[in-house]
């Protein structure tokens, strides 16, 4: 079955440093989504990427979808303490009927030291 690998598992940064997390899928994706889970909270949708090579920005967050639609990255510029949490990528398989089913990566836990 489809697998989505996400690295790194943990990232500790000083406030103001940049942060990047990477996702790789074993199969071509129809789209990829990113979610953020604050400590003690539940995953909350951030963004969806659909097109090959797509780049989207949300303030200090930059999301990329690879040309082959098998990998993706999330980059945060100048991290702040409010960025703390676990970031998940989630891929939807290409083709067929998936009923909105996603395969989640393992998540990257980001801690930011003030």
């Amino acid at each position: 079955g489809q697998q989505v690998m996400q690295i790194p598992q943990y990232q500790h940064v000083q406030e103001g440093e940049d942060f990047t997390t990477y996702c790789n899928s074993s199969t071509t994706l129809s789209n990829i989504q990113w979610y953020k889970q604050r400590p003690g909270g539940h995953p909350v949708f951030l963004i969806q990427l659909v097109k090959s090579g797509e780049v989207k920005k949300q303030k200090r967050l930059t999301f990329q979808f690879g040309e082959a639609k098998k990998n993706s990255s999330l980059h945060i510029t100048a991290t702040q303490t409010t960025d703390v949490g676990t970031y998940f990528c989630a891929g939807k398989g290409a083709g067929g009927t998936s009923y909105g089913k996603l395969t989640f990566g393992q998540g990257t836990i980001l801690t930011v030291h003030p």
């Binding site: 079955g1 996400q6 598992q9 129809s30 789209n31 989504q33 979610y35 909270g41 539940h42 995953p43 909350v44 949708f45 969806q48 659909v50 998940f88 989630a90 939807k92 290409a94 009927t97 009923y99 909105g100 089913k101 996603l102 395969t103 989640f104 990566g105 393992q106 998540g107």
Partner: protein, 120 residues
């Protein structure tokens, strides 16, 4: 705003007990999902449902069953709880998009607050 609620935030059960976790969504979504979340393993799909009384196994269905008698409610059942089922359980819902535009449609999954289950 979409609201997904789960019956309990915390549960403590004994090995062998039958456990019911309930999830309710108020957005008339067709699809509902049950995940478990464990450190280092991310979110793993247990079961999902794409319509009333319809269900599909996810990646780790063993030891679990589900029920969807009404569109807004999706229940996860642990027939005989075991200690390795101690985990955070998350319910999610999403609407369904079909056809050629399906890949471009927004398919956000909306999560409930989670139930932290401890099996002793």
């Amino acid at each position: 705003d979409v609201k997904v609620t789960q019956s309990s935030r915390y549960l403590v059960k004994r090995t062998g007990e039958k456990v019911f976790l309930e999830c309710v969504q108020d957005m008339d979504h067709e699809n509902m999902f049950w995940y478990r979340q464990d450190p280092g393993l991310g979110l793993r799909l247990i079961y999902f449902s794409y319509d009333v009384k319809m269900k599909e196994k996810g990646d780790i269905p063993e030891g679990y069953s589900v029920s969807r008698e009404k569109k807004e409610r999706f229940s996860l059942i642990l027939e005989s709880a075991s200690t390795n089922q101690t985990s955070m359980y998350l319910c999610a819902s999403t609407t369904v998009w079909t056809g050629t535009l399906a890949g471009n449609a927004q398919e956000t999954q909306y999560f409930g607050p989670g139930t932290r289950l401890l099996v002793l």
